[in-house]
Amino acid sequence: MLYFSRWKALAIVLTALVVCLCAVPNFFSEATVRTWPAWAQRRLVLGLDLQGGSHLLLEVDTNAVKKDKLNQLADDARRVMREARIRFTGGIAVRGDAVEVRVAEADASAALNKLRELSQPLGGFLGSSGQRTVEVTDAGGGLIRLTIPEAAITERIRQAVDQSIQIVERRVNQLGTVEPLIQRQGLDRILVQVPGLQDPTRLKELLGKTAKLEFRLVDVSVSPEQAAQGNIPADDEIFKTSQQPKTPVVVKKQVLLSGEELSDAQASFDQRTSEPVVTFKFNSSGARKFAQITTENVERPFAIVLGSGTVDDPKEVLSAPVIREPILQGSGQISGSFTVQQANDLAILLRAGALPAPLTTIEERTVGPGLGQDSIRAGEIAAYVGSILVILFMLLTYRLFGFFANVAVAINVAMIFGLLSLLNATLTLPGIAGIVLTVGIAVDSNVLIYERIREELRHGRSAISAIDAGFTRALATIMDSNITTFIAAAVLFFIGTGPVRGFAVTLGIGIITTVFTAFTVTRLIVAAWVRWRRPQKVPI
């Protein structure tokens, strides 16, 4: 146990040295490290609890995605039927999880054929499963039911979350923050971590709006009062205006143009009234449609509608100007009695694009920079005091061998930092606690070895034979006892988030380095000492 070949000894020293050196970048400022080659740039990342910042967990409203998909299907069905010139007797309506189309019984088979064209094989990895985007069933009596299979909805949700992540990213970047982290969590959640953000209120406001923009015609044939009493034509809807007093406006259900066709939006001031407005510009196809719409509807009012139609994000009419003349250059402005901030935010939202579905904040954890600083300080002091106490105790108990143990622990801790940097791991306050705890536990492997050596000495073995036997017997125990703790750390890593996961990481890495140092570094030190002193007695 005490013999090391020269190469093996060299390999051990080199490994320990290289791992320890990985911790070096942490001692330099970030700016300095950035000038180094890429492979040397790995360093510890401070968790949000230490550097301050905001952690938001957002959930995509999957019901809204589903509803949206059904409404879209209803629109498609309406278009197909119109193109095929099939009259529907009972109209087209979304009922529960299905779109119902009612036609005269004689037209049923023709309608079925046409509607089946809407259904396509489901793409992506489900393509081979034979699933389709729409199920068309004949319910008899001229009633045709269109449903969307579960797989297609899941696929749509997945797409919606992907799109949302991109849009969230664009909106967060508008805040000008450093290195935000935006990640998908599970099927329908998005994790947003913004270091240094003290008050996430504005961020939540920016993320809380879908910013779905629609251009529709106002129906002037019905007065809002009549509509409010329930006389709404089948293809009309009532929305309120966004500014106070909130008056109802009757608009057509048909969406003529949507915010997807915008190419730019900027906050500016109206040239005449000098109130804040948002000017927008359509892309080429949007501009063409806009020109056509404005040409066909001169002297009629159209409504600019914003929102997704949920309780938290209702559809509201931003403004309903009358089209004075055809607008051919594809740009316009929205004036909705905005404040400067509101106009700015709306411009940001329109530029970043609309969220496919509303997002809800389901978890928020924000740490101010003051607390973060205090935590770092507290963690540092605890780490120093803890280490010094342990070092003292080991010196008192084992003297020379205590010194050996302390050297091993120092190398151990340096290796923990090296590995954490190598993995770009996140250091949290519980993570620091994990390191301090590791110091307390790491000496345990030395204690196990030393106590075993003492025992073997008492049994009458010679010094060198006792040391040898002590290592051989203790190392098996060290392995067993550390694996149990490692299992606990691994479980913690998988169930934990944020600070707790940071603890699991340092605990787990601490166990690995502890076992490594016990098997190699401590042994190497003691072996070197034995070769140097050829001891007759062990001062232990």
Partner: protein, 333 residues
Amino acid sequence: MWILLGLGALIVVLAVLIVFGIIPPLRIVPDDTKFDFIRFRRVSFPISAALSILAITLFFTHGLNFGIDFRGGTLLEIQQKTGPADIASLRATLSGLGLGDVQLQQFGGPSDVLIRIAEQPGGDQAQQEAVQKVRQALGTAVEYRRVEVVGPRVYSELLAYGTTGLMVAIVGILIYLWFRFEWQFALGAMIANVHDIVLTIGFMSVTQIDFDLTSIAALLTILGYSLNDTVVIYDRIREMLRRYKKMSMPELLNISINSTLSRSIITHVTVTLALLALLLFGGHAIRSFTATMMFGVVLVGTYTSIFIASPILIYLGVGTNRRDDTDEKPSRP
């Protein structure tokens, strides 16, 4: 800072003294102890049973002080920018907001206050609005050191995660021990394990320490380290079982515990020192975490591995054939 300098100086002085051989080595446990730990089981088992029942009763009557991780709601840690915080006036301000149960608590320095707001009815959005109201009411006179909002969907998941995690860890460790030792050892370790967790939960119930995600972390760590201790003694028992085929079980267990006693105590001193430093200097954020760990690892863990985990092997039938047929045939290796 002065603490560090003082301790550093102490190290230097001690190192010099030790090198010159002036201070004798510290011996906490004398060599060759011969305590009869196994006979003590007639006391320790009833005591542990009674304590466990007490802990379980406390859990059901007193309950745990669930933090927002597991109960939902809002937690704000604020610091008055000038002068000490006036809790009474803060309370008056906040209770006027109609947010239901609002708890205020001095936390750390005189200007630090912890505000807990119970979960608001009306889903995730309502929680967000509550924070907004508090921020508006308190204005800019305070610094928001920490704001945490946990919505209804998240906390039920966290609770499920936490409980499953504990179970998975116990089963995982059980399987590992089953492979490395015999099934009786695995079972014995698991009983000791559950005993540790039950007592620690009792401790949390008595002290009404915040029970949150870090508490689960503390419980898992306690699990790991208590087992660490148990495994060290079990390792020795296994070694003794192989070497002394005719020794009676209680004697064998006693020798095993006694010969590892010095190690158990020394390791616990070092762990206690590390935890003590964390408890005293590690800040409020991890205080309940370290306090729980202190109780579980230092108080319960050691006791369990010596007085529960080892003697229980007798009841689980390790080496039962020893006393009966020691002279007739050699027992199986």
